[in-house]
Amino acid sequence: MQVPAPFDYARATSVAEALELLERHGEEARLVAGGHSLLPMMKLRLARPDWVVDINDVAELRHITEEPGRLRVGALTRHAELLGSEVVGRLFPIVHDAERVIADPVVRNRGTIGGSLAQADPAEDLTTVCDVLRAEVVIAGRDGERVVAMPEFHRGPYETACAQDEIVTEVRFPVRAGQGSAYEKVERRVGDWAVAAAGAALVLDDGGAITEAAVGLTALGLEGLAVEAAAVLVGQRPDEALFAEAARLAAAASAPVEDGRGPVDYKRHLADELTRRVLRTAAARAGALTAVQGG
């Protein structure tokens, strides 16, 4: 039987109360939301907090709010709620692409966007999604809120800008006219971590040329965006040869490691192939958007 080591439990009902509990209990306090990263780690003694602060009742963290020019998503929003949100799917189809393949439907009833980003597992999908959408993360602390861009927030595997005594409260996605986005993952079976995955967001102007591009990879040893791949796309009209070149550059920027999910060559092949696929889909979706807005 796997059971966590003993700890004390406290439940917060507001961000202020959660921050106060974190401050009072210091270094050995951990927040729990969905619990699907922390509790397994506690069972294996990879985490051994003295205090667990439950933030599931912090209602102010659970919302999806559409505003002019941006979408605000509360950190406690469950994967299943993102997947069920019409506005999320309409503005950012990449989020639905990713959510369909994050864990399984039952786990998605508990896991949260804030937890996924804050845990920062190297095979976690939403970090890549937020990278390519150029999202910002809101972090609350004793001295108020700060807003950090994804490259600043995500420092590497299991490491973010959110300090021990702070809470991720919100993710903000900028809405861009003419944007299309897509995510695709290869996994060995439902619910497994990614063997490899790629995400892309493209903005097309009225003439059909790419004005903004972002490409990201998951579980492929690349932190942040594939900058070279994006650079060749900007200013061009989408076509297969262009996508092939961008995919080649994305694969070259990847640094996969061999593990039980596959050898390096295979993973680099996936970086190339998945990048092509998400660029195709993102371009088609951007085109559809442009057509609707233009028509």
């Binding site: 039987m1 796997q2 059971v3 966590p4 080591a5 003993p6 700890f7 004390d8 439990y9 439940r11 729990v32 619990g35 699907h36 509790l39 397994p40 506690m42 069972k43 667990v52 439950d54 599931n56 299943a80 864990a103 399984d104 439907p105 039952v106 786990v107 009833n109 508990r110 439902v190 619910g191």
Partner: protein
């Protein structure tokens, strides 16, 4: 610490260790052993129960986190009218062999049918994709859920249940 929650319609209050997982609270503290305990790693899904109507893996939730919420286990599926249509479907279509995954499968099916009374095969397969069956290969489970969808008002008599 003390937890209070509604389990199958009845309020229960118990003293628990904060580290007690919901699955062990149900099985050991309350004696509701219909909820099975399998992989312990939120993979197999045999421990699925409904919390506030949604399927969750009870091996990856603390009893403490469930305090104040409503839990439904397999023991709460049958009502005054007899077995739930899902339970009848699993009997009619041979949805189980060893029965280990069955409680979790049936609860997920109940939650699915509550929000989508007429799911197609792909929808059913997606809904149970976080739960593992090692006997039937899923085909009969899918048929069982379809049976329940097609017989929403089915109420088993005692005779049918014991037959």
């Amino acid at each position: 610490m003390q937890v209070t929650m509604t389990v199958n319609g009845a309020e229960v209050t118990r003293d628990v260790e904060p580290r007690q997982l919901l699955v062990h609270f149900l099985r050991e503290t309350l004696g509701l052993t219909g909820t099975h305990w399998g992989c312990d790693t939120s993979n197999c899904g045999t421990c699925v129960v409904l919390v506030d109507g949604l399927p969750v893996k009870s091996c990856t939730q603390l009893a403490a986190m469930t305090s104040g919420h409503e839990v439904r286990t397999v023991e709460g599926l049958a009502g005054g009218a007899g077995l739930d249509p899902v339970q009848q479907g699993f009997m009619a279509e041979h949805g189980l062999q060893c029965g280990f995954c069955t409680p979790g499968m049936m609860l997920t099916a109940r939650a699915l049918l509550d929000r989508d009374p007429d799911p197609d095969e792909a929808t059913i397969r997606e809904a149970i994709s976080g739960q593992i069956c090692r006997c039937t290969g899923y085909a009969t489970i899918v048929r069982s859920v379809r049976w329940a969808a097609e017989h929403p008002a089915a109420a088993a008599t005692d005779q049918e249940v014991t037959a």
